[in-house]
């Protein structure tokens, strides 16, 4: 048991470190180090713009999509090399936010199901950040039950005509391409009538509308499709096989191992270390200490769980299921920490402005944003189902709509 790199890993790390040292946008380091939660906002720069510049530079140095084959813009690196890169990239990795969905989900799907011509045309530009991709899965009536989606694609000659609505699409407003799952046959059970496509987001009939979220921000979009034409050559996988294609996409989403999830613990520890209560520092209060210690143990548990996963990768093994707990633990923790920090602030805790008492409202912002962590990318409940079914081997839910043709499933307002 040790935390050391193998000689090959150490050499790789050294190469990566030197390249980053010579090329990273160091002027942004301080600002990137500060913002740990949610979307990155930079005072004087557009994240997409600086992100694209960093992505392009990395692409030229052969440091993007490391695990992809070289001919598609990758480096042909091993999974552990990818993790080492992410560790070394550190806070600059936050600049890759606009590209993560493309790199993590859309790219691998195109790689698995696209034609050779499509792979050569789209993947290198996705990798270099020149073209940004988004993912069009969720709908207002199909979230956890995404297979219940309604957006229709109908075959007209060599094309498909799409009508419907998607929601929760991050980055749709700056994306060039989108990965779209749509219903091509409503007469068969819901999982069997879906097909996967990709489309140009500038196609006529595509309308992107930002969503004003519960936390007051606008980070996601609704995307409306009105008679949008997609050539059949942009279909991924067979007609009616969209569900199994989507599983590839989602599996890749959950493989993002290097990403450290924000828990709120460092912020909370610092806050309690400085907050003066009536009887002294908050961190000297037994009730505060007890909560803080439990959160600290959870946070270190997550950290060392990811180390176990990395170790498996390092040995060339397939990681175990333990990594599936990350978002479930950190989402709840963020929300609990925010609530408790505000409790300690007492009456002033209600303030969300630039107030000294609330450390500029950082926990208030955490409180308002944290519900989305527990919903996006699989709700807490879906994640528990996944653990129960795939890790513990418990039976799946009894699904009353499983063998019913989609258009016979009882629903509200279809």
């Amino acid at each position: 048991m040790n935390f050391d790199d193998t000689p090959q890993e150490a050499a790789f790390r050294e190469t990566a470190r030197k390249w980053i040292e010579a090329n990273a946008p160091k002027a942004l380091h301080a600002e990137l180090s500060k913002s740990s939660l949610g979307r990155i906002r930079l005072a004087n720069h557009d994240i997409v713009e600086v992100g694209k510049a960093w992505q392009k530079k990395k692409f030229e140095g052969n440091w993007v999509c490391l695990h992809w084959p070289k001919e598609y813009g990758g480096r042909g690196a091993t999974p552990i090399e990818r993790v080492i890169w992410q560790q070394e990239e550190g806070v600059y990795g936050k600049l890759t936010q606009p590209f993560q969905i493309g790199e993590g989900m859309c790219g691998p799907t195109v790689m698995a199901f696209g034609s050779e011509a499509a792979k050569r045309r789209y993947l290198p530009k996705l990798a270099s950040g020149e073209e940004i991709w988004c993912q069009l899965f969720s709908e207002p009536s199909a979230g956890s039950d995404v297979a219940g989606l309604r957006t229709r694609a109908e075959k007209k000659g060599d094309n498909w005509v799409v009508n419907g609505q998607k929601i929760w699409t991050s980055g749709a407003h700056y994306s060039d391409y989108g990965l779209l799952i749509a219903r091509t046959d409503p007469n068969v059970p819901k999982h069997k009538g879906l097909t996967m496509f990709f489309l140009d987001m500038k196609s006529p009939g595509v309308e992107v509308r930002p969503i004003k979220q519960a936390n007051g921000m606008q980070e996601f979009n609704e995307v409306y499709f009105t008679d949008v034409v997609i050539p059949d050559s942009q279909r991924l996988g067979a007609v009616g096989e969209g569900w199994s294609v989507s599983l590839t996409t989602l599996m890749n989403e959950r493989m993002s191992i290097g990403a450290r999830l924000a828990t709120g613990l460092p912020e909370m520890f610092e806050f309690c270390s400085n907050l003066m209560l009536e009887d002294g520092l908050a961190i000297d209060d037994p009730a505060v200490r007890s909560k803080l210690a439990s959160w600290a143990a959870k946070s270190s548990g997550l950290k060392y769980t990811s180390y176990r996963t990395i170790s498996a990768l390092s040995k060339g093994e397939r990681p175990g299921p333990e990594n599936s707990i990350g978002k479930l633990v950190s989402g709840i923790m963020l929300q609990d920490i925010a609530t408790y920090a505000m409790d300690l602030q007492g009456a002033a805790g209600v303030l969300t402005g630039n107030d000294e008492e609330t450390v500029q409202g950082q926990f208030q912002q955490m409180l308002l944003s944290s519900p989305s962590v527990r919903i996006a990318g699989g709700t807490d409940e879906i994640l528990r189902n996944i653990i129960a079914e795939r890790v513990l081997g418990l039976p799946g839910d009894i699904r009353v709509d499983k063998d019913v043709p989609y258009n016979k499933i009882p629903t509200k307002g279809r």
């Binding site: 935390f3 210690a293 143990a297 959870k298 270190s300 548990g301 498996a312 129960a388 418990l394 039976p395």
Partner: protein, 375 residues
């Protein structure tokens, strides 16, 4: 990075699991649970023969000289089997104290006897309610004799010797505490068994009356040694707790697959699935924290105090959580004496107190994190 046990260590774990499955069935545990024996003597002998008791004791003192990572994997299996033997008091507490502070003669006398299963040892620290603290140590040592009462002493009624924390000063500082080694069969000692939450591991009250004792480690250094012993034991106990938590989770899962209600396995209901998923989450966090503790323990890393506290908290919470919800998954059957659920519930809650309670370790973790941040 290789944050995992080696193939040899995993093989040792499998070997221990197989051995315990055979020699330490729930039926065997119940002999002790029902008060028919104070501990499982045959199992203790078997553990000695397998080399498990002395796995971390150097060869020159009769052990296998393997190391603490090896001891960790065995500890996990001891917890999983709910073994009714004085393993933790003898191996994690007494042997560790001897290894840290014992003189050559003391090590020669007791360590080989521990490894061979001839001697059971324990740590006599607590005096009634309260957590580990120098000010809770009232038993006095003067002129080579001890006077005072220790309780609860784990496995005190079956122990052959004890490491005893005693007051040798009154300055109000840690230096007031010294450790002593007492042969419990030699006189000046009165031992009384106490009923306790987990009858598979006994507790006792030991009264020392002008009892002869030899110093263990230098005078006035007792508290420092004790702190180290408790940290080391915290990691080892965490592995027992992880083993117990995993077993409780498994029992719950198996029952949920087997038990039919409302025409379907109860494991197909989300209320039950989610409870079991949450048990998996806490058991996984505990395992990962314990691995870090194992690394710190086996390398004598400066991170040990913080790692031990985090492992202790995480493993205590996980075992309590899994043992409690295992009963809940079982429903009424889980509340019968006949089902094994309560054995893990008892063990989980007794272990949560043994080295100092959860709140004590939470306090320790915060202190240690602050110290690190300040440094």
């Amino acid at each position: 990075m290789n944050f995992d046990f080696s193939d040899d260590q995993k093989q040792l774990r499998d070997q221990a699991r197989k051995f315990l499955a055979e020699k330490c069935s729930p039926k065997a545990v119940r002999v002790v649970l029902d008060g028919k024996a104070p501990y499982d003597k045959d199992l203790w002998k078997g553990l000695a023969e397998m080399g498990f008791l002395g796995v971390a004791i150097p060869e020159e003192f009769g052990g296998a000289g393997a190391g603490h990572l090896e001891l960790c994997v065995i500890a996990e299996e001891m917890g999983r089997a709910n073994a009714p033997v004085p393993f933790s008091s003898t191996v994690y507490l007494a042997a560790e104290a001897l290894l840290i502070a014992g003189s050559e003669a003391q090590k020669k006398k007791w360590l080989p006897a521990i490894a061979s299963g001839e001697a059971i040892g324990t740590l006599a620290l607590f005096e009634g309610k309260g957590n580990p603290s120098p000010k809770n140590v009232k038993l006095t040592a003067a002129n080579g004799v001890l006077n005072g009462v220790k309780k609860p002493v784990p496995d005190g009624a079956i122990a052959d010797f004890a490491v005893v924390a005693a007051r040798t000063g009154s300055s109000g500082r840690d230096a007031d505490i010294s450790l002593f080694l007492v042969d419990l069969k030699a006189g000046g000692v009165e031992v009384k068994g106490l009923t306790n939450l987990d009858p598979t591991r006994g507790q006792a009250e030991i009264t020392f009356r002008d009892c002869k004792a030899e110093p263990l480690g230098a005078a006035g250094e007792g508290w420092g040694i004790l702190t180290e012993v408790l940290d080391r034991a915290a990691v080892l106990c965490a592995f027992e707790q992880v083993g117990g938590a995993d077993r409780a989770l498994e029992m719950g899962r198996d029952y949920a697959l087997d038990r039919i209600a409302f025409g379907r396995p109860i494991g197909s209901f989300q209320a039950v699935k989610h409870m079991l998923a949450d048990m998996y989450v806490s058991a996984t966090l505990a395992r990962s924290n314990s691995y870090y503790g194992a690394w710190a323990l086996s390398t004598n890393a400066a991170e040990l105090p913080e790692a031990a506290a985090a492992a202790r908290i995480s493993a205590t919470q996980a075992f309590q959580h899994c043992a409690k919800n295992n009963i809940q998954v079982h429903g009424g059957m889980g509340f019968t004496w006949e089902f094994d659920c309560h054995m893990y519930y008892r063990r989980a809650n007794a272990m949560a107190l043994g080295l100092g309670s959860l709140s004590y370790w939470e306090d320790q973790l915060i202190d240690r994190m602050r110290k690190k941040n300040a440094a």
